[in-house]
Symmetry: C2
């Protein structure tokens, strides 16, 4: 069985792992990423970690997931707010020269989707649309085992999909964008508007929901409809074989998940009503998905 190296590079920590093609982690190293100290510190540390992987030279390739958008065609990090000095940085080329291995790169939401499509909840399905519903909302489209990032890497930017253009705009997103209406951050904002500073997180709103607070129920019901509209958009445009949903809001799954799906079924043609909604399976989609990048390119 082939082994590959997966790298999850964040602003705070970096993890490097040897992973087999089934997505099993065989060896893992972790270190601070020194994300604010620039490429001249971040990269040598990263190369050092790679070279500590047992028999790294016989791995079939390296995949790396990074925060922020990536030009996957030219394998360049376009920009990163969490890593200083990496704007237009040719990360793959640099690591290839340092290690002698082929390197593939994509953003962290995309690699998480790839992991779920290849060895997680979407395994075996030709078209998997992955969505993370968390502080923000993002996604990834995987077709026949390959990430389809689109013309410039924007496929899966479902957080900016309009669910109701009659509402307000926040954070430079569209008026009534999904992320502004149905993310964890949005639920917190809306909860604070109603209940004040006693709301510190979406979880506090969900708690009031379970206590049958009528305003919390109204808020959560709206979120369930907004998410359903977002998924109906994806269904009509792509008709995926399954939806895979990850992200922190699954901690409150019992409150919103089934209600959202019931709404979704009212918004699509009957033939799309039974597209399965699956919850993400993997504990480590970031690093496993990074490792799946070379696999998905046939390495």
């Amino acid at each position: 069985m082939k082994n590959v190296i997966g790298i999850d590079l964040g602003g705070t920590n970096v993890r490097v792992a040897k992973i087999n093609e089934n997505g099993e982690i065989l060896q893992e190293l972790k270190s601070p990423s020194y994300g604010l100290e620039g490429p001249e510190v971040v990269v040598p540390n990263l190369v050092n970690l790679i070279k500590q992987i047992d028999d790294y030279k016989n791995c079939a390739g390296i995949g790396i997931g990074v925060p922020g958008p990536v030009d996957t065609v030219n394998k360049i990090m376009t920009l990163s707010s969490n890593l200083t000095g990496f704007t237009n940085y040719p990360m793959a080329k640099i690591l290839e020269e340092a290690t002698g291995l082929d390197v593939y790169i994509d953003n962290d939401a995309n690699v998480a989707g790839l992991a779920e499509a290849l060895v997680g909840a979407g395994k075996g399905d030709p078209i998997v649309y992955y969505t993370t519903v968390s502080t923000g909302i993002g996604g990834a489209m995987v077709i026949n085992g390959k990430l389809m990032s689109g013309r410039a890497g924007y496929a899966g930017e479902v957080g900016n999909l309009i669910v109701d253009h009659t509402r307000e705009s926040f954070n430079n997103l569209n008026k009534g964008a999904t992320e502004s209406e149905a993310s964890g951050r949005a639920i917190t904002r809306k909860g604070q508007q109603i209940f004040g500073d006693c709301i510190e997180s979406a979880g506090d709103v969900f708690k009031l929901y379970t206590e049958n607070d009528p305003q919390a129920i109204e808020l959560v019901d709206q979120v369930c409809m907004d998410l359903a509209i977002m998924f109906s958009h994806v269904a009509h445009i792509v008709d995926p074989n399954c939806f895979v949903i990850g992200g922190g809001m699954l901690k409150s799954k019992e409150i919103w998940f089934d209600k959202m799906i019931a709404n979704y079924k009212t918004l699509v043609h009957p033939g799309m009503a039974d597209i399965p909604f699956r919850t993400a399976l993997l504990d480590e989609p970031g690093i496993v998905g990074a490792a799946m990048l070379p696999i998905s390119f046939g390495k």
Copy 2:
């Protein structure tokens, strides 16, 4: 150069053509389709036409476009309102037995999109999202030269995408569905509500627009925003390399096309603003696209 046979089967007429892989029509036959008389009349007539194609046995395959949804995996017509008796009809298998050639089948909107992607306005682009804006609104997604019809053939059902859920529902579509708000039929309906029976078509509304009628301007401006929202949905979900737009509303292109694109640019991240919008190039996308089906499957 390979030749293939393309068939455009409608409720009224059927056309059968010999077409080369560049999409050039070499020979074409036309006949009534006898669409209301059932498969026992329609199919022998169709087979007879195929066998009149010069040297048909040396063609690389047959592609057929039909009205209504198709199960492309099992090559079965799911249902057709324009052709009597074809519900769950195994059209491809029947034609394969009659001709000895491999047969591929898809619906007419999808094959038109395939034609534009392979030999029309989207030629050379990896991800082409085709949309027809006409009496109704439909579409097709073509990735790397292959139709991506989705799990059950619903990819491209953009007419049912919600652009404003606060509006009404028509024809079993979603409340505020694109087709109910921005198709030729929708513009006619809205025009009649404002101006009465003097409006017989969308063209009459566009004429009032050119005469600076303020209500017509308001109506058309709303249509331009609704279509822009629809395309913004596609951009965020798929990020295609280009949009290709076909359909009868292009007859009034100078009125709405640039205005729609200007709206679109306000609804997407900067990196998606310059996705090109191209108008369909082909005179005969139906029959050429049918012929492209076997080509797209590598025949």
